[in-house]
């Protein structure tokens, strides 16, 4: 993994003879260019799933109409708290379960058709493999299912197991493996057939900080090589830096989706600013002016003022500060603001639901 993270030359994900192309569209053309059907490698259209539980078949709505489109080369974070339906969606995408309503299109077709899944690398949530096999044997088996030649299987599994740091354990049965080691086996097998699209369910959960960093490095390398990544997480901060766009799921519904940068800029997000204003007689008036900005919460500090305000109000704040002869000392996007956005959306939906 360290070899991979160093990023020099011949990484497994992109052999030296191919030039990695940057397929991620830039922020602007995401809005202006219409999506050509070729570009959409994965789309969910009103995906719904109702489970029947218990003797009477009581319905549990795990998904209630999720729609999203993923472009080739995009890295999409699928976020939501536990039980929000991430795993259920992913299982629909890889054909383990069938949707109750709506449609999944994988490379333009039904994921239930086996050949379509040849270009997909799937990592299950807390993966399990046959515990009597060694990592090499798992890779052999998986490679056969992908129709790889014996030589390719041996070469790729050797390389990949090395990259996930399992070279020492490659010939030991999985029986004694820790969760983190199994996760590495899972990652290696998902990459075996050099898939175009990676679908990883909670790749960072259950790992220690070191392991998380290593997996994040792998994901960054894959992304740089133009692979498409679809991965779920319930911890936003874990993946913020890894995805172009996010889809936030709550109780089976997508509550926010889009480019991460757009969401972070959206008016509902908050920033925290520390500003200095001239002291003296004008100070109370200046403070009153700033406090009058919409949505601002102002705290008077000995050295200045601290303001928590909607990110959309930042330009107005700066204009006001110029007028008043003050300046901005610090400006931060509140770290938890996307999480708060998510919470607000959830609360709002509850209220709407209650009113309806």
């Amino acid at each position: 993994m360290r070899r991979l993270a160093s990023g020099a030359g011949d990484t497994l994900f992109s052999p030296a003879h191919t030039t990695p192309v940057q397929v991620c569209p830039t922020m602007n053309d995401a809005n202006s260019t219409p999506l050509s059907p070729d570009d959409a490698i994965l789309s969910l259209d009103g995906l719904a799933k109702t489970f029947r539980v218990g003797f009477w078949g009581r319905p549990v709505q795990a998904l209630r109409g999720v729609s999203l489109t993923m472009r080739r080369g995009e890295s999409l974070g699928y976020l939501g708290p536990n039980g929000s339906g991430k795993t259920t969606s992913i299982k629909c995408i890889v054909g383990l379960i069938q949707a109750s309503a709506g449609k999944v299109q994988l490379f333009g077709g039904d994921p239930g058709e086996a050949p379509r899944r040849a270009k997909v690398g799937y990592l299950p949530e807390s993966p399990y493999f046959y515990d009597y096999l060694t990592p090499i044997e798992v890779m052999e088996y998986v490679g056969k299912l992908y129709g790889m030649s014996a030589r390719d299987r041996a070469e790729r599994s050797h390389k990949l197991l090395g990259q996930v740091g399992l070279d020492q354990a490659a010939k030991r049965p999985l029986r004694g493996f820790s969760k983190g080691m199994l996760q590495r086996v899972g990652i290696a097998q998902s990459l075996l057939a050099d898939p175009e699209l990676l679908i990883w369910d909670e790749p960072l959960s259950g790992l220690d900080p070191m392991g998380r960093k290593e997996v994040r490095d792998i994901m960054a390398a894959l992304r740089a090589d133009g692979k498409s990544l679809f991965f779920s997480s319930h911890v936003l901060s874990d993946i913020e830096t890894l995805c172009d766009s996010v889809c936030i799921l709550d109780r089976g519904q997508a509550v926010a989706q889009g480019r991460l940068s757009d969401l972070l800029r959206s008016e509902e997000l908050e920033s925290e600013a520390v500003a200095e204003i001239p002291s003296g007689d004008n100070r109370p008036a200046a403070i009153a002016t700033l406090a009058a900005l919409p949505g601002v919460v102002l705290t008077d500090l000995p050295s200045g003022v601290r303001l928590v305000l909607p990110t959309a109000q930042v330009p107005a704040l700066m204009a006001k500060l110029l007028e008043l002869g003050g300046f901005l000392r610090e400006l931060n996007q509140r770290r938890d603001s996307l999480e708060e956005l998510f919470l607000r959306k959830a609360v709002k939906r509850d209220q709407d639901g209650g009113a309806a």
Partner: protein, 281 residues
């Protein structure tokens, strides 16, 4: 065959009959490997060997000219029964284990059709049963020759018939294990096996002039349904005729095999249809 070539030039051979056979044989290989490590399998094998050894001890008590005969009839009962027991028990666990241990979740999303997976599991277990049958037959042969008996042509052909029966019982077991939980599916398979061994009795009763199956309409319907829905496994039970000195000609083996394999195919197709609808949550 055209292969999928990935961006880095890796060739994936996923289409065509050959690719399909390779996938199925990968599943067969893994199934055999897993079954080969099951304690249950060795338990049954050990029990069978002990029973055969026991027949050796018993035969010491028999009259001189009856010694070989005793070992013969003992093996004729024990060998197939233990193999059928293996088929029922391991067949019931075959899919359950994959689901319970979640190993299936990493396999089914690969470019393998569910039907291919079932075919691989089924054939893998069949292969194991053939190995078991051959191993037990060899032990039996050794015991038999110690008592001056022989592995005759009819006995060998009888064993061949049992192979077909095992294939059929395995596909019944897989059918039920695609349908329901292991305990129930094991019981159902065992039930079908027992009823299948005696369907000819029901057929006779239905054809009789009097009796429950003739006089009670409901029983008649049940009887008819059983006869239609359950394969006649007595087709493969040739121990008694062989012991009485009858021959089992190859022509009979051939027609009985056709019968058994058609039924096996029907159950296998049913298993695939059930399995294809299933959600793996």
């Amino acid at each position: 065959m055209t292969a999928i070539v990935t961006k880095s030039g890796l060739e994936l051979h996923t289409s065509g009959a050959f690719a399909m056979l390779r996938r199925i044989s990968a599943v067969v290989g893994n199934t055999l490997r897993e079954a080969g490590r099951a304690k249950l399998f060795y338990g049954l094998l050990g029990a069978a060997v002990m029973l055969l050894g026991f027949s050796l001890v018993l035969s010491d008590l028999a009259l001189v000219d009856q010694k070989a005969r005793l070992v013969q009839s003992f093996g004729m009962a024990v060998v197939p029964l233990v193999c059928v027991g293996t088929a029922v028990l391991m067949g019931a666990l075959l899919l359950h284990k994959e689901i319970d241990k979640k190993t299936l979740y990493a396999i089914l999303p690969k470019p393998i059709a569910r039907g291919e997976f079932i075919a691989g599991k089924l054939l893998g277990l069949c292969a194991l049963l053939v190995i078991e049958l051959v191993a037990l037959a060899l032990v039996w042969w050794a015991v038999l020759s110690m008592r001056g008996g022989q592995m005759t042509g009819p006995i060998v052909r009888g064993l061949a018939l049992h192979v077909i029966e095992l294939v059929l019982v395995t596909s019944i077991a897989v059918f039920f294990s695609a349908l329901t939980r292991p305990v129930l599916s094991g019981l159902l398979t065992a039930g079908v096996f027992v009823v299948g061994r005696v369907t000819y009795v029901i057929t006779d009763l239905l054809a009789a002039r009097k009796g429950l199956f003739v006089e009670v309409p409901a029983m008649r319907a049940v009887g008819k349904a059983l006869v239609v829905a359950i394969p006649d496994l007595s087709t493969f039970a040739v121990a008694d005729p062989i012991l009485q000195g009858w021959d089992v000609p190859w022509s009979y083996v051939a027609s009985a095999s056709m019968y058994g394999l058609c039924w096996a195919l029907a159950f296998a197709v049913g298993a695939v249809l059930l399995f294809q609808r299933r959600d793996f949550t």
